[in-house]
Symmetry: C2
Subunit: 339 residues, 2 copies
């Protein structure tokens, strides 16, 4: 075991848990994007038959939870914990979406880093023999997020080119003690990084230094180089944040550009979908990971992936009070096989 001693931020798991199943459900815009064939379901409209966007987001989470179990051939009583959170105030998408699950629940808040945060905690709890099966999941919703974080949609506010588009979607995984992979082998837990950026329309620039900090720490703790991975995947830095992240890592002596992508860049069609700097929101990295990445790993087209979800830990209140945007990134190392 690598252990957490000597100031290391990375834990090497002794008994790497398997990702037994993964599922995701997304909204109509995401369903028109380049990854559409990888989503388990595409919702026709943002309300999905509910009375409010918040209820629709809870339904996304509830139905995704059911799909994760179904694809893993499990029922709720097989699951020891669900670890979940979202972007809404007081995490109501998760709290209401999972209230009928009947499973012991840990609510987490890591902004858009939530998918990797929940997988980090879930993997360590299984590795430590505290659970056999854990569902880790998250969601976001374009309309509920715009309403809460920015402006009423009805205003039709113009968005600067650096702005990102919150993904409507929920995604998650079932981690299990038993399974045939892919496996979570290392967990690198980020520190809060704040470089003083205050532009809430340029989250990518705020979050990139946190991603760099965690990726560098992962390499230094493990002794790995970028060649250890087929793919290094950040959560939702978007086009600008991705460039910053790549440049900063190259300056540090870790060039990753030949094996680096970002879920926010991947989820929308750059030419046709007018998503500005790319996708964002917890649901972005969750649905790209649970859809495209997981399926490509199972098929054998990807073998070793470093999944680094990134979160901007601000709120409208902190922005109104002139605060900068603290950010965080959590990394999990995932391998198709342990041999």
């Amino acid at each position: 075991m690598l252990g957490k001693r000597n100031g290391k931020q990375t834990v090497k798991l002794k008994n790497p848990p398997s990702i037994v199943s993964a599922a995701c459900i997304v909204g109509p815009k995401e369903g028109q994007g380049p990854l559409r064939l990888y989503f388990d379901a595409i919702v026709e409209d943002e309300m999905w038959g509910e009375k409010s966007w918040e209820r629709a987001e809870s339904k996304l989470m509830r139905e995704t939870f059911a799909k994760i179990l179904n694809k893993g051939a499990k029922v709720a009583t097989d699951v020891n914990y669900v670890i979940a959170g979202d972007l809404l105030n007081q995490c109501i998408a998760a709290n209401f979406g999972l209230r009928e699950s009947g499973v012991s629940f840990f609510g987490v808040y890591g902004a858009c880093s939530t998918m990797a945060e929940s997988m980090s905690l879930g993997a360590m709890l299984i590795d430590g023999e505290h659970a056999d099966n854990i569902v880790c999941m998250t969601s976001s919703h374009f309309c509920s997020a715009e309403k809460q974080f920015r402006f009423p949609l009805e205003l039709g506010s113009q968005r600067p080119p650096t702005a990102q588009w919150t993904v409507t979607g929920s995604g998650g995984v079932l981690l299990g003690k038993d399974g045939t992979g892919p496996y979570v082998t290392h967990v690198t837990t980020g520190k809060i990084v704040d470089m003083g950026i205050k532009d809430a329309n340029n989250m990518g620039a705020a979050m990139a230094p946190a991603a760099v900090d965690t990726i560098l720490r992962h390499f230094k703790d493990t002794g790995f180089t970028p060649h250890e991975y087929d793919l290094i995947l950040t959560g939702d830095l978007g086009k600008l944040g991705k460039e910053i992240c790549s440049e900063m890592l190259e300056k540090e002596g870790y060039p990753i550009s030949d094996r680096y992508d970002d879920c926010g860049v991947m989820i929308f069609d750059w030419e046709k979908q007018d998503a500005h700097a790319g996708g964002s929101g917890c649901g972005c990295s969750a649905s790209v990971f649970a859809g495209f990445i997981y399926q490509e790993m199972v098929k054998g087209n990807l073998n070793n992936v470093l999944f680094v979800a990134t979160g901007a830990l601000m709120s409208p209140t902190s922005t109104q009070q002139g605060e900068s945007i603290p950010s965080i990134a959590h990394a999990v190392s995932i391998r198709r096989s342990l041999s």
Copy 2:
């Protein structure tokens, strides 16, 4: 190990971590209450020299974190993780209060159950050999909470007798692999319970069934009876919720009234402080536990305590949309000695 198998919600820890230190800082009203001698510091006014209540709450968290380390004779680089959350939208009290800590950070959201949630995760991570030292903490602030959840303070709104008073305070513990106790021996993680109560001014009634569910599950999983404990302590059910909890458990065959108290009932003087149904907020159970309970355990006046923090998982948005109040309770069993 009791294990999570067979549908059990309780984990018995193999290597129970020690509560190495505990600290809490509270506001002026809490500092006039019956537990005033147990707090590490009492802030003279709710702003504490900051420009906003939110910044004051972040400062409460930052200074409490420093006190926890100081009392435990540790520095930040000794700590592997900090697990923290609060009630503010996007958990900004924790995110901004701990951004300079330089410690790997897991943000959690369990409403007022956060203190027990963070201790549950922290205890299992140490038990699983993923960390040596973890700080688990939370905060709440009367003014930032009223502003966010209810009405502007300047309105002087009248409060019904069932309303509770959000505690201004931060509290937390340092859990360590090594130490001389008290020890965290069992973790019982709650499910979300929703009995359909919709009155946001009667949180005690909404949360009591969740507390009952978790306490019953703890007894059934472990085979313990209430006599196992000197004290069963709920987080912030307040006067009404406490009565409901006690009555419900008695009907289930587990009478606890001779060894039962609630942090929300304990923190204010019933006759003199006009706190209606009692204290509430994450900072309530955190400061009562880190102050009074911890010190009385160290002195030997309390030996075995079941700490059950309770959270109401609603938001103003969910209440405005006519939703009920889902609730959760997490329990940790704490023993002064393992012999």
